[in-house]
């Protein structure tokens, strides 16, 4: 185990080092190496910028590259051209000509027309920020200001209510979010506290929400591994004890626990193992109390999970 931990740390360190080296590498298109072109103005290559010609406003005509990079003057380049991508941005260069390219694309501290970088959403907020500036978290600015159509679902509570929208239209999410990391940030708890999905010090106040399941905890946390692990460490989980005494707020808990279990099975599982319930609810031994509800259909379950049936019943 420790060796694998070291290996993990090694891979992380290696990755960080390699990425640090990569960050010093040149860009895909090194604008700064083409500084001489800057004197002609950005629109000499990005010809559609001010006309609003969507087919030309971002991309450069490949023939402009091959004019010099033809294998004789300079090394040959066979760039096929830019493929326009679907975007939710309303932004159009044609409606922002007075700003000048450097206002949004300039690199702070660098000089020259070709010292440029992609504009980020934060730049928009300088003018459209309504006094607030955080692109994702502030929530004061309507998303419709800059984006087509994300807003009907992107209310402030969208963080907890986005499941259907994401499932019904995943390709739209990826217009703004990196799918490879965005979902994982929250859906593989314990998560980075920076994302603040839960309020601060949620540990001391999570109990009520675990019972009421405003969203399903198991979407991100394994009941067996995550919940029970911590509860066991804190002495809350049963851990094989059969001596009772924890549920002291309900008289005759033993007689009433069935209602609680059927209403809040998720929470039961966060402390109790299957074997603890089987002490009474098994057809093989113990009190042989039938746990199945009146609508239980054994044939459907049996077809798909003989292994689970065999936990309590012989003949499987």
């Amino acid at each position: 185990m420790r060796r694998l931990a070291y290996l993990g740390a090694f891979v992380l360190a290696l990755g960080a080092g390699a990425l640090f080296a990569a960050s010093r590498a040149t860009f895909e298109f090194p604008h700064e190496k083409h500084a001489g072109l800057g004197a002609s103005g950005c629109e000499s290559c990005h010809a559609g910028i001010y006309s609003g010609d969507a087919s030309r406003n971002v991309s450069v005509d490949p023939s402009l590259c091959s004019g010099c990079h033809n294998g004789q003057t300079f090394v040959e380049v066979n760039w096929p051209g830019y493929t326009p991508q679907e975007s939710s941005l309303k932004f159009q260069h044609a409606t922002h000509p007075k700003l000048g390219c450097q206002t949004c694309h300039g690199i702070p501290g660098a000089e020259g027309a070709m010292a440029v970088q992609p504009a980020s959403g934060q730049v928009c907020l300088v003018c459209h920020g309504n006094g607030a500036a955080n692109h994702f978290e502030v929530g004061v600015n309507p998303c419709e200001t800059c984006h087509y159509d994300p807003a009907p679902g992107h209310t402030p509570e969208f963080k907890t209510q986005h499941g259907t929208a994401a499932a019904a239209g995943l390709p739209n999410c990826t217009q703004c979010h990196q799918q490879e990391s965005f979902c994982v940030d929250c859906h593989d708890g314990p998560v980075n506290p920076r994302f603040q999905y839960h309020p601060a010090n949620f540990v001391t106040r999570h109990g009520a929400e675990a019972w009421s399941e405003p969203v399903e905890c198991a979407e991100c946390h394994s009941r067996e591994v995550f919940c029970r692990d911590c509860h066991s460490n804190q002495g809350v989980a049963m851990d094989g004890r059969q001596n009772g005494g924890y549920h002291d707020g309900v008289a005759n808990w033993q007689q009433q626990h069935g209602v609680a279990a059927r209403q809040g099975m998720d929470s039961c599982v966060s402390c109790h193992q299957q074997t603890e319930c089987l002490a009474c609810h098994s057809a093989k031994a113990g009190w042989r109390v039938n746990p199945h509800g009146p609508d239980f259909d054994p044939t459907r379950a049996e077809d798909r999970s003989t292994q689970a049936c065999g936990i309590c019943h012989t003949g499987y």
Partner: protein, 484 residues
């Protein structure tokens, strides 16, 4: 330990080693994040006295100080209380995320890794030292996408991850179709189903890995509606049984500023709709928008467990919320609530005192004059199992134009009641928190320090105490493809 398959390590290491060269051609972006935390907890212990020393009779009695105890005749009377000793817990995680482009048109690699250390396993999963959350190659063209490696599926069935491959065809404007399959991983753990994390957490944990297969059909009609239908089956490698067989449908329509959402997830083995919801969201008029939702929820459990055979029941819930975003001042107001009612359990006596319904409500006011901000939040959960009432009040100031650097003071108060346990708990506290984005370095530091007073009422043997908490984080972002 999550990663049992050496090829993935080789894949990731190879991808990383190749980064400088490939990054030169195209670009790599990502971040490295270090997070350290400190918190204090007081574990519960069971205490007992001989049964014949406690007055009264029956299963549940009271000690002279009022402590409720559970007695077994001729044995002991027992109760649970914290033992007065604090545990200091110090989880530490390191994350590396990256996405890079290889120089081959459409071919990219993606990964996220995490290492965990600290506190001798007191914090969940700290014994899962190395975790490869994702690590896959992707070949993306306008008409299709092929992924191979460790990845996940986020669909109407929730979040499932697996080691395998997926193929998506999206050559038509109005639809896409995707098939996927591979070795399944336990949800929320990134470990095989027969892995150590599971076998240590449950005596009846499965001893077989799982194979996951599924498909999704998605469709959309312009900007008006979109939807998807997903079917997924997960089976044991010995094919004796399934771990799950589920399907989901998710639909969304946007008509004239109105949004209509509908979703349902179905469990084939127990013939149960686990989570179904219909929601309507109004257009924003004068900065005001409302959302109404009806939901039915029944938990889903993997078939290797017995839990679904215990016939858990669901609840039906109605939910209404609204937001107001001012156009003239930087102010956001949000409020909402929900009522839920559980279905008949057919368990226990008719005289049972356990609640069959519950309420929740929430509200928020967020005001950002200039770079200052005030964030007041309140939430209550009232009902079955447990209740809590309380909120946070935060005063802060952003220190830079991008609102990444900030300092803030947070006050908090919460009252908690557990229906199944005597007493109430009050938690009040204060914390300072902040972040600093180091200019031109792509580095962000953040930290917080707080103390929380914990007081238990109506529990005679409980003692009040103050819990300390702190976090320190560092995030370094990189992007080598800046002019793409």
């Amino acid at each position: 330990m999550t990663v049992h398959r050496r090829p993935f390590l080789i894949l990731v290491a190879g991808a990383l080693l190749g980064l400088p060269g490939s990054g030169r051609a195209q670009g790599v972006r990502g971040d490295v994040t270090l997070n350290w935390g400190w918190l204090q907890l007081r574990p519960f212990v069971v205490d007992s006295v001989p049964e014949d020393g406690v007055a009264g009779s029956g299963l549940q009695r009271q000690l002279t100080d009022g402590t409720t105890v559970t007695c077994i005749e001729g044995d002991f009377c027992r109760w649970y209380e914290d033992n007065g000793e604090r545990q200091d817990i110090t989880p530490f995680t390191q994350d590396l995320r990256f996405a890079g482009w290889t120089g081959v048109q459409g071919l990219s690699f993606h990964g996220q890794m995490r290492t965990r250390f600290g506190s001798d396993d007191l914090w969940p999963r700290t014994d899962q030292n190395f975790d490869l959350l994702t690590g896959y190659l992707s070949l993306t063209r306008s008409a299709y996408r092929i992924n191979a490696g460790r990845m996940y599926r986020a669909s109407g069935l929730g979040y499932y991850n697996f080691d395998g491959a997926s193929v998506m065809f999206r050559g038509l404007d109005w639809m896409w179709i995707e098939a996927y399959g591979g070795w399944s991983l336990a949800r929320g753990v990134n470990a095989p189903r027969d892995g150590k994390l599971y076998t240590e957490s449950d005596l009846l944990a499965t001893d077989r890995r799982g194979l996951l297969f599924g498909g999704e059909l998605g469709f959309k009609g312009g900007k008006v509606f979109s939807g998807s239908a997903t079917y997924q089956r997960e089976l044991r490698t010995d094919r004796l049984a399934l771990y799950s067989e589920r399907a989901a449908v998710d639909l969304r329509a946007l008509i004239g500023g109105w949004a209509f959402d509908g979703a349902a997830a179905y469990d084939f083995a127990y013939d149960e709709i686990n989570d179904a919801r219909v929601r309507v969201t109004t257009p924003q008029i004068l900065g005001i928008r409302f959302s109404a939702q009806a939901r039915r929820y029944v938990p889903f459990f993997d078939y290797w467990t017995i839990w679904s055979a215990f016939s858990p029941v669901g609840f039906g819930e109605g939910r209404l919320s609204g937001t107001w975003t001012s156009r003239s001042i930087p102010l956001l107001v949000e409020a909402g609530g929900a009522y839920r009612k559980y279905e008949e359990t057919n368990a226990g006596p008719a005289t049972t005192t356990i609640l069959r319904d519950g309420w929740r409500g929430f509200g928020r006011v967020y005001w950002t004059p200039d770079r200052w901000y005030v964030d007041a939040r309140y939430r209550f959960e009232d009902g079955f199992g447990g209740s809590r009432y309380g909120g946070d009040l935060i005063f802060g100031r952003y220190l830079d134009q991008r609102s990444i650097s900030y300092v803030a003071v947070r006050g908090t108060g919460t009252e908690t009641l557990y229906e199944f346990r005597d007493g109430e708990r009050y938690v009040t506290g204060a914390a300072v928190e902040g972040a600093y984005d180091i200019p031109n370095a792509d580095l962000t530091l953040d930290a917080s320090l707080g103390f929380y007073r914990i007081e238990d009422k109506n529990r005679p043997q409980a003692t009040d105490w103050t819990e300390g908490r702190a976090t320190v984080g560092l995030r370094w972002r990189f992007n080598t493809g800046g002019t793409r």
